[in-house]
C-alpha cells in the first residue's frame, strides 16, 4: 500500500509494470505491500500442532525455514501424487491452450501474467517436471523444469495466496483442470514449513479450541444472540427464545460464526432466528458446532477434516435427526463434497432430512443429512407455508451474486433465486456470463479477506463489482444479495470502493423482512432499522 512505502520503494514502483524479458521460469515473485497477508504466528501454528511454529515476516529475507525444507516438500509432493488422482493428472495433462487465462478475477484485476490460472499451476508443474518426469530430469529448463529453490518457494507462497480456490477456471478448461486443487496442494506443502497466513491460521487455531473462527466463547455467543433478539423485538415486537446445545432437538442448525458477529451478517442471522421461530421449528444452536465455515480447508486436508468433525460429533451428542446449514460458500463446498467422505461414518444414526412443516423429504441429502437453508426455505415458500409481504422490500432493487462454492461445487442456483423472487418485487440479473457457474469471485475468498492485502482484494473484486455496476447504472440496483458469509463481509467493502450506493445482504435477511409473523406489531423499519418504503416518514 502506497502510504506504508519508503521513498526509494516508490521510485522503484514507477517502472514496475515492465516485466523483465526472458522466460517466466527465471522471474522471481515480488512480495509487495498491499498484496500479501501477514505470516502465521507461532502461537496459532502451535495450537493446532503444525510444524515449524515461529513468528516470521514475509517481507523479510529470512523466512526461518527448517533445514532440508526442499526434502520435506518433495517427499510430500511424491506422497500426494500417489494420493490424489486430480493432482497427478492435472500435473500431466495441461496443454497450455490458454482457455483459462482471462477467466481468473485476479488476472483480470492485477494484469499479472502469473495470475493466469495456467501459469499459477505451472509454478508447481515446473518443479514436478524437474523431480518426477524423465524429460524434465534430462532436459531441465528446456522442458520447462526447474529446481525447487527459495525463490520458487516464495513465488509459490505469493501466488497460492493470490488464488481464492473459486474454480472458475475449471469451468472453462477443456480437461476440467481445477486450479483450486493445485492451490490446495500448494498450501498443503507450504503448511509443512509453517508458511501460512495469520488471517487463516488465527481462525483455524480459534476454531480448534473455541470452536469458531472468531474465537467466540459460549457465553459470548449467547450474549450476541441476545442482542439480536433485542433488535428483533424492537422491529417486530416479538421476543424469540432460541435454545443452545439442547439435547433431543430435531434439528441442529450450523452457520458460519461471521453471521453471529460481523455486520451485515448479523442481519442474516436475525433472519434465521425469525424464520425458525415463525415455523415453531424444533431446533437448537450449538456453541461447540458453532462454525459452519472451515478455514482448516485452506490449510491442509487433515485440518479441514479435524474442524469439520465437530458438526457430526455434536449432532450425535445432542441426538438430533438432521442438520440445517446456514448461508456460507466454502462451508457448502465442504458439506457437499467432503464432509460425508471425511466424517460420514460418524453420522449414520442421522435420518434423511424431512421438513416437519411440508413433509418434503430432501432426497438429495440422503447421504450428508444436511439441508441448505435456501433449499429448506424454497420448499416452504413453494408449499405456501410462509406469509410474505414482498412490498416491504420495495425500496430495494436487488441482484444476486452466486457464491463460487455453491455454484461450482454444488449447483445451488435456482433455490436462492426462487426465494429471492418470492420476497422481493425488484430483481435484476447481472450479465449471463458473470453469474451462475460463471460467477465471479468476491475477490477475498479462501481466507484472503484480511485487511493488509486490501489492494489485492479490490483488484480481485473488480470483475464482480463491474457487473454489479452495470445493473446499478442500468436498473438502479442498490442491493447485492448472496448466500455467503465471506461475501457479506467483503462485498460490502468492495461495493463501497467500486460501486458506492450498493449494499450487501444475505438472502435470509430479505426473507425475514418480508416475513409476516404471527402476532407481530406493524413494522416501520427493516432489520437494519431503516424505514420501510410505504412507511416513510413514519415516526421511530
Amino acid at each position: 500500500m502506497a502510504k506504508q512505502m519508503k521513498p526509494n520503494e516508490i521510485i522503484s514502483e514507477i517502472d514496475y509494470k515492465k516485466m523483465p524479458e526472458g522466460s517466466w521460469l527465471d522471474q522471481p515473485a515480488e512480495i509487495k505491500p498491499g498484496m500479501f497477508c501477514w505470516g502465521a504466528k507461532a502461537k496459532s501454528i502451535k495450537t493446532v500442532g503444525f510444524p515449524n511454529a515461529r513468528d516470521w515476516n514475509p517481507s523479510e529475507e529470512d523466512w526461518k525455514l527448517p533445514e532440508n525444507w526442499q526434502g520435506t516438500v518433495l517427499e510430500a509432493m511424491k506422497d500426494r501424487l500417489g494420493k490424489y488422482r486430480s493432482f497427478k493428472l492435472f500435473m500431466d495433462i495441461c496443454v497450455r491452450c490458454g482457455a483459462c487465462a482471462d477467466k481468473c478475477h485476479f488476472y483480470i484485476g492485477t494484469g499479472d501474467p502469473k495470475n493466469m490460472p495456467v501459469m499459477r499451476a505451472e509454478l508447481m508443474r515446473s518443479v514436478y517436471r524437474k523431480y518426477f518426469t524423465t524429460p524434465g530430469k534430462m532436459l531441465g529448463k528446456l522442458a520447462g523444469a526447474r529446481e525447487l529453490d527459495i525463490k520458487v518457494l516464495k513465488e509459490w507462497w505469493s501466488y497460492f495466496f493470490q488464488c481464492t480456490e473459486c474454480r472458475r477456471c475449471s469451468v472453462f478448461c477443456p480437461y476440467g483442470i481445477d486450479h483450486a486443487e493445485i492451490t490446495m496442494m500448494g498450501r498443503e506443502f507450504l503448511n509443512l514449513l509453517g508458511l501460512n497466513i495469520e488471517w487463516i491460521m488465527g481462525p483455524v487455531a480459534n476454531c480448534h479450541v473455541k470452536c469458531n473462527h472468531l474465537g467466540l466463547e459460549p457465553h459470548t455467543i449467547v450474549n450476541n444472540v441476545e442482542f439480536m433478539l433485542d433488535d428483533i423485538e424492537t422491529v417486530t415486537g416479538i421476543r424469540i427464545n432460541p435454545s443452545f446445545n439442547r439435547k433431543g432437538a430435531e434439528i441442529l442448525f450450523v452457520t458460519p460464526s461471521g453471521d453471529l458477529f460481523a455486520d451485515p451478517g448479523t442481519y442474516t442471522c436475525m433472519g434465521y432466528l425469525m424464520l425458525f421461530h415463525e415455523l415453531g421449528l424444533d431446533y437448537t444452536w450449538s456453541t461447540y458446532a458453532s462454525e459452519g465455515g472451515n478455514f482448516g480447508f485452506f490449510t491442509t486436508n487433515e485440518m479441514g477434516k479435524r474442524l469439520n468433525a465437530k458438526i457430526y460429533a455434536e449432532a450425535k451428542r445432542l441426538g438430533v435427526k438432521y442438520i440445517i446449514g446456514g448461508e456460507c460458500g466454502h462451508m457448502w463446498r465442504v458439506l457437499s463434497q467432503y464432509m460425508n467422505t471425511w466424517n460420514g461414518p460418524e453420522a449414520d444414526f442421522l435420518e434423511v432430512p424431512k421438513s416437519p412443516i411440508t413433509g418434503t423429504v430432501f432426497e438429495n441429502t440422503r447421504g450428508t443429512r444436511a439441508v441448505h437453508i435456501s433449499e429448506f426455505t424454497a420448499d416452504l415458500i413453494k408449499h405456501g407455508k410462509l406469509k410474505l409481504d414482498p412490498s416491504r422490500n420495495d425500496h430495494l432493487k436487488v441482484t444476486f451474486h452466486d457464491s463460487c462454492n455453491t455454484a461450482r461445487g454444488m449447483g445451488l442456483l435456482e433455490e436462492p433465486r426462487y426465494v429471492l423472487k418470492s420476497v422481493c418485487n425488484n430483481f435484476y440479473e447481472m450479465p449471463q456470463h458473470t453469474i451462475r457457474e460463471k460467477t465471479f469471485c468476491c475477490g477475498s475468498g479462501s481466507g484472503l479477506n484480511a485487511g493488509e492485502d486490501i489492494d489485492l482484494r479490490m483488484k480481485g473484486g473488480l470483475p464482480r463489482a463491474n457487473a454489479v455496476k452495470h445493473v446499478h447504472d442500468k436498473h438502479g440496483v442498490n442491493l447485492l444479495a448472496n448466500v455467503c458469509a465471506i461475501d457479506r463481509a467483503t462485498l460490502t467493502t468492495s461495493m463501497d470502493y467500486w460501486v458506492p450506493g450498493v449494499k450487501v445482504a444475505g438472502l435470509s435477511e430479505l426473507v425475514a423482512n418480508a416475513l409476516v409473523m404471527k402476532g407481530e406489531k406493524e413494522r416501520t423499519t427493516d432489520l437494519r432499522g431503516e424505514p420501510l418504503p410505504n412507511k416513510a416518514g413514519g415516526d421511530q
Binding site: R85, L89, R96, Y288, T341, G411, E437
Partner: protein, 357 residues
C-alpha cells in the same frame, strides 16, 4: 528457445531420415524404429494410465456447471450437473467428441446508442474451431491410413475417403449443372495431374498452423508456451507436410509402402527398395511422435477421460464417496471444550454434561 530449439530438432530429424535413406538404412528406419516407437507408445501409455489409475480419487469434486438435483419442482441440469451415470456419460461424451467446454467461451459487447445500450453476447470460439478441426481431421487421417494395413481396404475406410473427397463433389456439381468458367477451371485444377484432394489434408494443415501461430503471436499464449508445446506442433506439422508432399507433389511408390506396412503388421517385415526418402521422413517423424507421446502433454488424449471434475456424478450429498486412505484425525472433543468453558457455559445458561470439573 521455446520455438527455435524444437524447430531445429524437427529439421534434424528430417535430415537424419533423408541421410539414413540415402545410406541404405531402410531396415532401421522402416522396421526397427517404428517397432520401437510403437512399443514405447503402447507401454508408455499403459504405464501412464495405470499410474493415474493407481492414484485414488479421494474426494468427489465435479465442477458443477448447472442446477443441482434438489427439490422435485426445480429443473435439474442433468448434463452439466449430473447426479447419475447417464448424465455423466453424456457430459463426458460431449466433452470428448465436441469439446463442450471450449464452446462455452462467451464475451459481451456493447451495441446500440449511448442512450440505449444493448448488450450482445458473442462467442469467442476460434480456439474451439481450431481444436475441433485439428483433432477430428487428425483422427480421419489416421483412419484413412488404415488402408495401408489391410489387404482388402475396409468398407468404412473407403466411405470416409469418399466423403473426405467432398471437395471434388463441390467442384464437380456446379461444373455439371452450371458450367461456369471458374468452377470449370477449379475442376480442372483439382483433377488434372493430381490425385483426389482430401478436405481433411487442407483443414489439418490449416489447423496446425493456426495452433502454432497463436502460440507465436498472442502474447498471453506465448508467455505460457514451452518447448514442450511447440515441439509436438512442429513435429505434427512436419508429418502433415511430408504426407501432403508425398501424395500430391513427389509421389512415392504406394504399393511399396503398402508392402512395408503389411509386413509390419504381420510381423514379417519387408523393406521395399522403391520407396523414396520422403516417405522415411514421414515415418521417422511419426515414430518420434509415438515415442514422445507418453512423456508429453499429449497424454491428455488419455487423461481427459479420467478428469475427476468432469467424470464424476455430483451425488456426494446423496451417496457417500469413499476415500481409501481416509485416516482418523485428532479432534478437539466436546469434553475438552466443556472442560475449558464449563463455568462460562453455566453462567450463560447453556446446558452442560458434567456440573463440576
Amino acid at each position: 528457445m521455446r520455438f527455435l530449439v524444437p524447430l531445429v530438432a524437427v529439421l534434424v530429424l528430417v535430415l537424419l531420415a533423408i541421410a539414413g535413406a540415402g545410406a541404405h538404412l531402410q531396415f532401421l528406419l522402416g522396421v526397427v524404429v517404428p517397432y520401437a516407437a510403437l512399443a514405447i507408445f503402447v507401454l508408455g501409455m499403459i504405464a501412464k494410465v495405470v499410474g493415474w489409475g493407481k492414484a485414488p480419487v479421494p474426494f468427489r469434486i465435479p465442477t458443477t456447471c448447472g442446477q443441482q438435483k434438489s427439490l422435485p419442482w426445480i429443473k435439474q441440469n442433468k448434463i452439466e450437473n449430473p447426479s447419475g451415470a447417464g448424465g455423466t456419460f453424456i457430459r463426458m461424451l460431449l466433452e470428448v467428441l465436441v469439446f463442450r467446454t471450449l464452446w462455452r467461451n462467451l464475451r459481451t459487447e456493447m451495441h446500440g446508442t449511448p442512450d440505449n445500450p444493448q448488450l450482445v453476447y458473442k462467442s469467442t470460439r476460434w480456439l474451439w474451431l481450431g481444436g475441433m478441426m485439428f483433432h477430428w481431421t487428425f483422427l480421419i487421417i489416421v483412419i484413412r491410413h488404415l488402408r495401408f494395413f489391410f489387404q482388402r481396404v475396409p468398407g468404412f475406410v473407403q466411405s470416409i475417403e469418399h466423403v473426405d473427397n467432398g471437395l471434388k463433389f463441390l467442384t464437380t456439381y456446379p461444373a455439371v449443372t452450371n458450367p461456369g468458367k471458374l468452377s470449370a477451371a477449379l475442376h480442372g485444377f483439382l483433377q488434372v495431374g493430381m490425385p483426389m484432394l482430401y478436405v481433411t489434408d487442407i483443414l489439418f494443415i490449416t489447423a496446425v498452423t493456426y495452433l502454432l501461430l497463436r502460440r507465436i503471436f498472442i502474447p498471453q499464449v506465448k508467455y505460457m508456451t514451452l518447448a514442450n508445446d511447440s515441439f509436438p506442433l512442429f513435429l505434427i506439422l512436419g508429418i502433415g507436410i511430408s504426407g501432403v508432399v508425398m501424395r500430391y507433389f513427389h509421389r512415392v511408390d504406394v504399393v511399396g509402402v503398402k508392402n512395408l506396412a503389411m509386413g509390419l503388421v504381420s510381423f514379417h517385415p519387408v523393406v521395399p527398395s522403391s520407396v523414396g526418402s520422403i516417405f522415411y521422413v514421414h515415418l521417422l517423424l511419426v515414430s518420434t511422435l509415438l515415442a514422445y507421446f507418453p512423456f508429453s502433454k499429449l497424454v491428455h488424449f488419455g487423461g481427459v477421460f479420467l478428469s475427476p471434475t468432469r467424470n464424476l456424478a455430483n451425488n456426494s450429498r446423496e451417496v457417500r464417496h469413499i476415500n481409501p486412505w481416509n485416516y482418523p484425525v485428532e479432534v478437539h472433543t466436546y469434553e475438552e471444550y466443556e472442560n475449558d468453558f464449563r463455568a462460562k457455559m453455566k453462567m450463560a445458561g447453556v446446558p452442560v454434561e458434567k456440573e463440576e470439573d
